[in-house]
């Protein structure tokens, strides 16, 4: 199907919630690169700040007005984007969602492209268990230890990532205690402040887990400022796998991150569009892989060796249950 598509060119749109994080920038770069390969024109537009839902919907409507032939959007957490979906449906323009796999209850979406946050967090938890066990020279199943969670602002993202992680702990190292779980508002600076205080209450915290890397990095800084040594006295793990985190990981200043390869996720989005143009069947959920990135497999991750072909997946709901049913 691809071959014949290459012949024709398309004008398509891509709408991140805002371009204020490297995650979205990387995804845009992947999408751009793939679109360029195909000879398409990709227009990227985003509101100035995340959370400006009305501006988000308007941006989509404006791109539709500009005549895009397909569009992919990244709704963040709420169903406000339904309005945008319906606007696209009304015009018969195929619409996709990326970095988001919770289907809307109204409107037709070609496919939802994204990774399983619960599952990813769960596997990160498994690795955290290993780290603690390693520190105390025992096994994950037996080890005790203390773990602190830095939450993002309340949302499906923070919920899935916290709950998945807690499920992973329960499964892999049930004797590890979660000594606290506090919001650090997705910010490195708040992560630093909250972790500093957490260490006053619980000086023996073994692992800081952040719903995002930035908060975990802040926590690592706070602990280091108090004289603790990362990867010896304590560990810091988080989710996202952005370049600044990978740099720190390479420098031994971070413990592990959940790499979801936003660049290739962006490529996947364009591929899904192409498949749709070609009349191919596209799964409702296109699940992209996520992988725990550690100093050991960092090179492989960067090279793309850990990337696996996206598969048809399951929708994600904020329901306290795993995204992918366990058998």
């Amino acid at each position: 199907g691809m071959a014949q598509d290459n012949a024709e060119t398309h004008y398509v749109g891509f709408v991140p919630p805002a371009l204020t994080s490297p995650f979205h920038v990387a995804m845009v770069e992947g999408a751009m690169a793939r679109a360029a390969e195909l000879g398409w024109t990709l227009e990227v537009q985003a509101p100035a700040s995340e959370g400006d839902f009305a501006a988000f919907v308007t941006t989509v409507e404006q791109l539709l007005e500009k005549g895009v032939e397909a569009i992919s959007i990244n709704p963040i957490g709420t169903d406000s984007a339904i309005t945008a979906v319906l606007a696209a449906n009304e015009r018969g323009v195929p619409i996709l969602a990326h970095n988001f796999i919770t289907p809307f209850d109204q409107g037709e979406v070609v496919t939802y492209v994204g990774y399983d946050q619960w599952g990813g967090a769960e596997s990160l938890a498994a690795y955290a268990c290993e780290l603690i066990a390693g520190k105390y020279g025992t096994t994950a199943a037996e080890t005790t230890g203390q773990l602190f969670i830095l939450e993002g602002i309340e949302s499906i993202f923070s919920h899935r990532r916290t709950q998945g992680f807690e499920a992973g702990l329960e499964k892999n190292c049930p004797n590890v205690t979660v000594v606290g779980s506090q919001s650090a508002e997705w910010l490195r600076t708040r992560g630093q402040e909250v972790a500093g205080i957490a260490l006053q209450q619980h000086p023996d915290i073994d692992v800081f887990y952040g719903n995002s890397d930035e908060m975990a990095i802040g926590a690592a800084l706070a602990a280091q400022d108090l004289g603790l040594v990362i990867n010896e006295d304590f560990f810091a793990v988080g989710i996202d796998g952005n370049q600044p985190t990978l740099d720190l990981l390479a420098g031994g200043e971070f413990s592990a991150t959940l790499g979801v390869d936003p660049y290739r996720m962006g490529v996947t989005v364009i591929d899904a569009m192409a498949a749709h143009f070609a009349g191919e069947e596209v799964p409702q959920i296109t699940l992209t892989p996520s992988v725990v990135v550690t100093p050991d497999n960092l090179a492989a991750y960067l090279a793309g060796d850990l990337w696996t072909t996206p598969i048809a997946g399951f929708p994600e709901y904020d329901n306290n249950l795993p995204t992918v049913p366990e058998d």
Binding site: A48, E65, T78, S155
Partner: protein, 355 residues
């Protein structure tokens, strides 16, 4: 608008001439808008469509309503930093009542008809606004602090009630009506939210220009509080009511945003405080109050919106948007200042003398 601040010279008491001068002087921000509008018409073919123009009106409606309330508050020399939180809060409240559930606690009740939900949300906005007004007047608290505090409280409540997710609704009844469009000729239509905004502006204009209450608002602003009190005006009551109006209008805007997005979420009001204040000031009402008016504010909203939308039509790279917005805001006001001839050193000797 700016008109009211123009100093007339002694010779020009001729009414026609004076009126004309006032109108032109008052056009200041409007000319800036017109310039941007025409520029965009020329540069972007996509903008030249009924839908695009409709979108401009639609996107201006909610923030215009918020800014209308902010105009009242700034008119009396106050400020309301709680508006964006009120937009979120009212949307969340209405959505929860309509959906009969919230994310945090699942089903809380059977949903009630949208019209009641909306009325409850809007009344809550009014009451909370009045309450803030009471703290500010009766306890002589600083409006900035009070409304900042309520900003936190209202956002916090929205967050707790929704657990950070949006509460989905299906449009029905009033929520459907207020998001509809009124067809005009051909493809042209008027988005209902804008019609609502326009109605609110017309009423506000009548209140401010032709009713006692509004005249007192002008009197209280611009440092006239003590003089107003001595003239027997119940200053406290006016101020309390004005904070109530701001709460009410922000809550109405909140319902509009929620209906448009079909979702009540704590982020629904994002950025609205700053934008509303900027629109008021760009529109010619100074932060000290006492002059200006709502139509100027509407122009202020349009200027901000056309800049934002223009960048999408012109495919300005998204991360450069902030810069462009900033530069245009500064330039727009600079142009207006220069046009008004306010700058002494640019035209020495012609200086207007303040009294």
């Amino acid at each position: 608008m700016a008109a009211e601040s123009g100093v007339e010279s002694r010779g020009q008491s001729t009414n026609l001439l004076g009126t004309l001068r006032r109108v032109i002087a008052g056009l200041g921000p409007f000319l800036v808008f017109l310039f941007l509008f025409v520029l965009l018409l020329i540069l972007s073919p996509a903008f030249r469509s009924p839908t695009s123009l409709g979108l401009l009106l639609l996107e201006s409606a909610a923030i215009a309503i918020v800014a209308c309330g902010q105009t009242f508050v700034i008119m009396i020399g106050g400020i309301d930093l709680s508006v964006e939180a009120m937009v979120s809060f009212s949307g969340v409240t209405a959505a929860i009542l309509i959906a009969g559930s919230n994310i945090a606690g699942g089903q809380v009740a059977n949903g009630i008809p949208a019209i009641y939900a909306v009325l409850i949300a809007v009344s809550a906005g009014l009451l909370i606004g009045l309450f803030q007004g009471m703290l500010i007047t009766l306890f002589r608290m600083n409006p900035l602090i009070v409304t900042l505090g309520f900003r936190s409280i209202l956002l916090g409540i929205s967050l707790v009630w929704t657990n950070g997710a949006g509460i989905n609704i299906v449009r029905e009844g009033i929520t459907d009506t207020i998001t509809s469009r009124i067809p005009l000729v051909g493809d042209w239509n008027l988005p209902m939210p804008f019609v609502i905004a326009l109605t609110i502006y017309a009423i506000s204009w009548v209140i401010l220009r032709h009713m006692r209450f509004g005249r007192y608002a002008y009197a209280i602003g611009g440092n006239g509080e003590e003089a107003s009190r001595l003239s027997g005006i119940n200053v406290n009551r006016i101020k309390i009511m004005i904070y109530g109006i701001s709460g009410l209008l922000a809550a109405i805007a909140g319902v509009l945003v929620m209906s448009r997005l079909r979702s009540g979420a704590y982020q629904n009001g994002t950025n609205m405080t700053l934008i509303s204040v900027a629109a008021v000031v760009i529109g010619g009402t100074p932060l000290t109050g006492g002059k200006g008016g709502v139509w100027g504010t509407m122009i202020g909203v349009f200027i901000i919106r056309i800049v934002e939308q223009g960048m999408v039509y012109l495919s300005v790279p998204s991360n450069a948007k902030e810069i462009v917005v900033g530069v245009i805001i500064v330039l727009a006001v600079l142009l207006d200042v220069i046009r008004q001839g306010e700058i002494t050193w640019l035209r020495l000797g012609k200086r207007r003398v303040e009294t």
